[in-house]
């Protein structure tokens, strides 16, 4: 990339084209919204107008006002502030559990695909068995065993996502394994570890990366579902799913209360899905 500094059109296009593409992508509504959610989760403590846990003297379930832009909940807590801090929980669990699933699932898939034979058969049987359990049931069963908490919910979400990553990595490994560059690496005497992690892994990484935004969007939905059922994040923490659960009791008196967290979940998931569609399209072309 040294040449790019020189600025001649032909060479600089390599670096600048990427920057331009990134800029174009960042200017889409979905990227804009995701950026908003990410900044909210990082800067929640700075930008939130109120303490999300503070039960203020404000009227409970008040309508939106200048002091409380989205109104207050049943304890007089500021809904906007709770949404902003909720972004932190959603992203932490969404991204954290997806990355955990990838960190375990991908090496597992690489190993199964590379070793083949009995190892492959055993690993893939286990993976297929996990896939044979409806995701929500699996997550609920895991939480039933480990107890209700946001950490256990995050672990459950990671276990649910794991098989997908293992399958993708295995499929990639199987198709790469027979290619000439891998044979060449074998011929020069590369060790198994080197072959798997240095030769094969970089070449199966793109489908894995494409899976990540989809994984995060599913993880956010699943965490919200678990929290909605009272099996994930526990009160008084501001989880989006939990806020919808709590808003239910007030659908007569404060019908707007539950609309906000639901809309934020839907927009976040919609944006992530759009991002992954783009990533997939870019990867295919």
């Amino acid at each position: 990339m040294q040449a790019a500094i020189g600025g001649s059109d032909e060479i600089s296009s390599f670096g600048w084209e990427r920057v331009r593409r990134l800029g174009r992508w960042l200017s889409t509504p979905s990227a804009g919204f995701l950026l908003l959610v990410v900044s909210a989760s990082i800067l929640a403590a700075v930008v939130a107008p109120h303490d999300p846990l503070e039960m203020s003297k404000a009227t409970p379930l008040s309508a939106p006002s200048t002091q409380f832009p989205l109104g207050t909940d049943q304890f007089g807590r500021d809904i906007l502030s709770r949404l902003l801090f909720g972004a932190r929980i959603a992203l932490l669990i969404g991204i954290g559990s997806t990355l955990t699933a990838a960190a375990v699932g991908v090496p597992l898939g690489l190993w199964a695909g590379y070793a083949g034979g009995r190892v492959d058969a055993v690993v893939m049987r286990v993976v297929d068995t996990l896939l044979a359990i409806p995701p929500v049931l699996l997550a609920m069963a895991l939480v039933a065993m480990t107890g209700r908490s946001s950490v256990n919910a995050a672990v459950a979400v990671a276990v649910v996502a794991l098989p997908q990553f293992a399958r993708i990595a295995r499929a990639g490994t199987l198709s790469e394994k027979s290619l000439e560059y891998v044979e060449a690496a074998v011929a020069v005497g590369a060790s198994d570890t080197r072959l798997v992690f240095r030769t094969i892994l970089p070449n199966v990484l793109s489908p894995v990366l494409v899976q990540i935004p989809i994984g995060v969007s599913r993880a956010i939905l699943l965490e919200a579902s678990l929290s909605f059922l009272g099996l994930g994040t526990q009160p008084p923490q501001p989880s989006w799913g939990l806020m919808i659960r709590e808003s239910r009791d007030y659908m007569y008196t404060a019908p707007l209360y539950g609309v906000f967290p639901g809309a934020v979940i839907a927009l976040t998931v919609l944006s992530l899905n759009a991002l992954s569609d783009r990533a997939r399209a870019a990867w295919r072309s």
Binding site: I133, I244, P261, D277
Partner: protein, 332 residues
């Protein structure tokens, strides 16, 4: 889920010449997976930390109760023996006794299962009525304004959490407009009309997301088929466009659609759990949810097991269906 992202392996191991062999192979695969899944379900209780009997019954249990439960679980036996005894009981239809109300878990399942099936049938009907026309329209009117609108609609329907959709529908049509009951369930025996009314909002809630996934697959699958030669032939014969699409093309587009249906069944079962919780419908999902909240482990175990078996059977059925529909699959 996007069109084309189905990672399902088609049955294509060599050597099978006959439908019977194909059916047998899929059946054996299903049994093996069911066996492995049953190990997991068994492990749910067996792997509880410490003394499972103590974890299950809690600190207030009397020594007699603990002894009885330990004997029932066979905790003094080696784990494989425990599993075999458990599996033998399950196969005989004995799913244990509820730790909360002392009723056989099988009774709960017998009462709850039909309710979930009724909800699912309504939701599935709705899925077909939305997905087929929407998918056919979008594939035959590419770039039309309504098609673009549908694309947006599907995106939102897939992103909105199912419980939120349920609550919104319940608030708008149940609480504000009072057109339909906001929650609850009336058995068919009591009043067919109220039974239907009580299931309309839940069926929409459960079906809306799956309908959009299916519509997108119908669209993608049909767009692909409509470019094939036989469709051109059908048109060249002077067939009306409606017949070309619905009779010739759609039939050929059905195979990937049925596969997706099988994959979606897993989301569908999970969705049913959440929908039942939102609308207080006394099906398997509500039973599971309540059981987790009060730590009624045998009910949790039973419902998860039934859910897995249902999912496996639906997948077996869809695989066999497209084996019948497309002879190429079973000969491969």
């Amino acid at each position: 889920m996007r069109p084309g992202s189905a990672t399902r392996s088609r049955p294509c191991n060599g050597g099978d010449r006959f439908l019977a062999a194909y059916v047998a192979r899929r059946a054996i695969e299903t049994v093996v997976t069911a066996f492995l899944a049953s190990l997991l379900v068994f492990g749910m209780v067996a792997a509880l930390p410490g003394d499972p009997a103590l974890v299950i019954l809690g600190d207030k249990a009397t020594p007699d109760q603990l002894l009885a439960l330990r004997a029932y679980l066979g905790l003094d036996q080696p784990v494989p023996v425990q599993y075999v005894r458990w599996a033998a009981r399950v196969v005989r239809g004995d799913l244990g006794t509820s730790l909360i109300n002392g009723m056989p878990v099988m009774d709960t399942v017998r009462r709850a299962f039909p309710v979930t099936v009724q909800l699912s049938i309504w939701a599935m009907t709705l899925v077909l009525f939305i997905a087929l026309p929407a998918g056919v329209y979008a594939s035959t009117h590419r770039g039309a304004r309504l098609t673009r609108l549908l694309t947006w609609y599907h995106g939102i329907a897939l992103a909105a959490p199912i419980f939120w959709i349920g609550i919104l529908l319940s608030t708008v049509f149940g609480v504000t407009l009072r057109w339909l009951p906001p929650s609850g369930f009336i058995p068919l025996r009591e009043s067919p009309v109220f039974w239907m009314r009580s299931l309309i909002l839940p069926a929409i809630t459960l079906g809306i997301g799956v309908a959009s996934v299916m519509a997108r697959f119908v669209q993608a699958s049909l767009e692909d088929v409509l470019t094939r030669d036989f469709v051109r032939t059908a048109r060249a014969k002077g067939q009306r466009e409606r017949a070309v699409v619905w009779r010739h093309a759609l039939r050929n587009a059905l195979i990937p659609i049925i596969t997706v249906f099988g994959i979606q069944a897993g989301f569908f079962i999970g969705g049913a759990v959440i929908t039942e919780a939102v609308f207080a419908i006394p099906g398997m999902g509500s039973a599971l949810w309540r059981a987790i909240l009060v730590r009624d482990y045998f009910v949790v175990q039973a419902v998860v097991l039934v859910g897995i078996v249902a999912f496996l059977l639906i997948n077996l059925a869809t695989d066999l269906t497209y084996g019948f529909l497309d002879p190429r699959i079973r000969y491969q």
